[in-house]
Amino acid sequence: MNLTLKIWRQKDASSKGQMVDYNVTDISEHMSFLEMMDVLNEQLIDVGEEPVVFDHDCREGICGMCSMYINGQAHGPDRAITTCQLHMRTFKDGDTITIEPFRAAAFPVIKDLVVDRSAFERIQQAGGYISVNTSGNTQDANAIPISKYAADEAMDAATCIGCGACVATCKNSSAMLFVGAKVSQYALLPQGQIEAADRVRNMVEQMDLEGFGNCTNTGACEVECPKGISLDNIARMNRELIKASV
C-alpha cells in the first residue's frame, strides 16, 4: 500500500518543531508499524536526509520504549498493544497517518518522536520498592502463603510497562494509572504492607511535583493502556492514600 505520513520533526529540546509530510510506497500489510518507519528511514538516508528519530527496542511489546501518538491515539488505533505490535494491516492503501510524540508537560520532547520520561523514574525512586537488602537469608519463599487471587491481581498491576501512554492520552496528563498500578502491586502483597503508608504518600507527592495532572475519571488511560491496567488501581491508590492520611 502507499501512504502519506505526517510526522513531527524537532531538532532538539530547545528547537521549535513542525509536522512534515512524507510518502512511502509498497508497504506490506504484514509489516509492523515500526518496520514501516524503518523503510521510511532507509529511504531518507538514501536521499541524504536525516532519518526520523523514535524510541524503540524490544519490538515485542514489553520494554515500554516505543511511544508514538498515531492518528490521535497513543500506540495507534489497535487496542492492547504497543506501537511496535501495531501492524500495517490496520491501515489501508491511500491513508494519511499522523505521527506525533507523546505530549505532556512532564514528558518534554528530546528529538522528533522521542520524549523524556524520567519523571516516571523519579516517582519510582520515591517509594516504588520494598526495602529489603539482598542476602541469602530472607525467609523461605513459601513461608507466607498469598492467596492466588491477591497474587494474580498484584501481577495484573505489575504488568505495567511504564510506556506513558496513560499520560499521553489523558486530557489532564495524569500519571495516576501508572502510579496506581505500582502502589497496587505492593498494596496487594503482604510484603508491601510494612511501608505502605509512606510509599503511597511519597509517590503521590513526587507525581504532583513532576507536573502531572489529576484524574477526572474519564478512563481514557485504561482504554489506551497496552497492558490493560484497570482503573481499579487508581481507586486503590486513592484508598491507600486516605488510609495513610488518617
Partner: protein, 670 residues
Amino acid sequence: MALDSKVPEGPIQDKWTNYKNKINLVNPANKRHIDIIVVGTGLAGGSASATLAELGYNVKAFAYQDSPRRAHSIAAQGGINAAKNYQGDGDSTYRLFYDTVKGGDYRSREANVYRLAEVSSNIIDQCVAQGVPFARDYGGLLDNRSFGGVLVSRTFYAKGQTGQQLLLGAYSAMNRQIARGKIEMYNRHEMLDVVIVDGKARGIIARNLVTGEIERHSAHAVVIASGGYGNVYFLSTNAMGSNVTAAWKIHKKGAYFANPCYTQIHPTCIPRSGDYQSKLTLMSESLRNDGRIWVPKHLDDVKAIREGRKKPTELSEDERDYYLERRYPAFGNLVPRDVASRAAKERCDAGYGVNATGEAVYLDFASAIERYGKEQVKIHNISNPSKEKITALGEKIIEAKYGNLFQMYEKIVDENPYKTPMMIYPATHYTMGGVWVDYNLMTTIPGCYCIGEANFSDHGANRLGASALMQGLADGYFVLPYTIGDYLAQDIRTGKIPTNSPEFEEAEKTVKTRIDYFVNNKGSKSVDYFHKRLGKVMWDKVGMSRNEKGLKEAMAEIKQIREEFWKDVKVPGNADEMNPELEKAGRVADFLELGELFAKDALMREESCGGHFREESVEDSGEQQGEAKRNDKDFAFVAAWEYKGEPADAVLHKEQLEFKDIELKQRSYK
C-alpha cells in the same frame, strides 16, 4: 598468559562456602571510598548494581535505554529455575547442577555450575521478599512448571512475563539505592571503551546519547553486564539495540573471548514473513509443555496446505508426523532447545515446512485443550458435556496459562491459535559464549568483571530453558558482590581514580576519532545494509548447522563486508546530537569483527556439541544415528581467544574442562 580458572579446592558442595569463608572483605567504612562501574542494567547488571550499593560501594550504572527497566531481560517469558523441590519430585541442588552440565553438553565449568545451582533457591526467596508476584496455586504457595531437558518441575513463573517481573524487582532495588544516592544512574549512555591504568580496569569512556558528549568515568572496578551478541545475525529475538560493543571493547583491551560459536537457536519463534523484517519474536518454550509439534507426513498435504487448499485441522492423526515424539520418546516435545531446533530444520530442509517460505512447523494445542477440558468437566461435575463445552473449558485453562503468548501470536500472524495450530520456526536467541571469566567472574583484565549473558560461564554449549534468568540474578545478587570484594580489598587506600591521566586521554581520543570517521565518511550505504549482509552470511553458514567449507567462506565474506563497511558506510547527522544511526554504526562495526571470530571458533571446533552442530561430526550408526557427535578426547576445553588485531589472527588459549563429579556421557533424550 595461561588461563587460571581459580576454582577453589575441596569437594564441589563445599567450594563456595569455603571460598566465602576465606576471601578478603572490605569493611563498611572503606566501601564508601570505593567506586564501581556497572555497564548494563538487565537482570545481572541491575541486581549487581543494587546489591553493591546496598553493601556501601558507590555505583555508577549505565544503560543505553531511557530506564534500567527496559533492558532486554524484560522480554524473558517462561520462568526461572530453582532447586527448591517444592513439588517433591526429587529435585535437589545436585540434580539442577547435573541437568545444567548435561544440558550444556559437558562444556561448562563444574564448579561454577554447582555454585549456580546452590544459590538458585536464594534467588526465589529474595524475589518474593521484593514483591515479585510469582504464580501461586489455590493454597497460596508458589506454582511451578516444567521446561525442556529436565524431568522435574522447578521453574517459577509470573504468567508469561517472568523476566519482566524479575527485572522490575531488581529495578525496584536499584531505585531504592538511586534514591539514597548510592547508585548514580546514567540512562541513555553507551560505553564505548574501557580504560586501563597500570594493568587494571579503572574506568570507561561513555557517550551521552542525548547530547553526544563523550564522558570519562573512573572507578576501582568495572563490571560488564551488557548481555549477549545474538544480533550478529541481524535477525534475532534480541532487542534492536542489544549489542556486543561493551564486551568487544574489553576483548580488544585484553579480555579473552570464549566459545563465541556457542549460540542458542530457540525452537519456538514466529516464522519470518518478509525482507523488511526487523526482528524475530520468541514465544516461551513453556508452550512445549502443552503444545505438540508436528508436520504433515505426506508431501502432497504439505503442498495443499501451502497453497491454501487444506487446513492443518483437516489432517487426521495418521496424516501427522509428531517428529519429536517419534524420535525422542522419553522427552518428546520437551527435548532441549538445540535438539528441537535442529529437528525442525531437518523436517523443513526435507521439504515439510508448512508456510510459504517453507520454514515453519506446527505447534498444536488441540490435544491439551481437550485434556484440560475433560479435567474441568470432572472438577465441576458436569454430566454429558458437549464437545464444544469441553473445548471452551479447555481453552480457558490454556488462556490462563499462555493467554499473553496467544494474544501476541494472533497480533503478529493474524490467526487464532486456539482454533488452528501455531506456526513456529527456530531463531537466534541466546549466546552461551562470551567474555571468559574465572571463578570470581573476573576477566583476563584485572578489575574487569563480566556477568550474566555477556560472560561464557555456566551454560556450556547449550542453555536450558529458564536458566538465563537464574544465572543473571545469581551473578548479580549472590556471586559478584562476594568475589569483587576480595579484589577490592587491595584498593581501600587507593583513593579516587583521576580521569585526567594519559590513559583516559588516549581512550577518549580513540573513541572520538572513530565517531568523527563515521559522521564524515559520507559513503553510499546505510548501516543496516551492511548489518543485513552480515546477518545473512551468519545465518546461512554459521547458523543451525555448520561445515568446514561454509565456515571458511563465511570468514572471508565477513572480512570483505567489513572492509566495504569502513569504506562505504553512510551515517547521516552529527556527532553532537541524538543520532541512532551513529550508535548503530559503532555496534555493527564491532559485530563485523565478532562475526569473523565466531566463524573461526566454529571452524576450530571440529565436533558437534550443544548449539554448535558440525555436519562432519554426527553418529553414523546405532540408536543415535544422525545425532550430534561430541568429541571429548579432543575438545573438552573452553576456547578462549586473545585479540591480536584482525579477528583471523586471534590466538587460542584452552581451559581444559575437568569433570570430577559428573560422568561424561552422550547426551541422549531418546
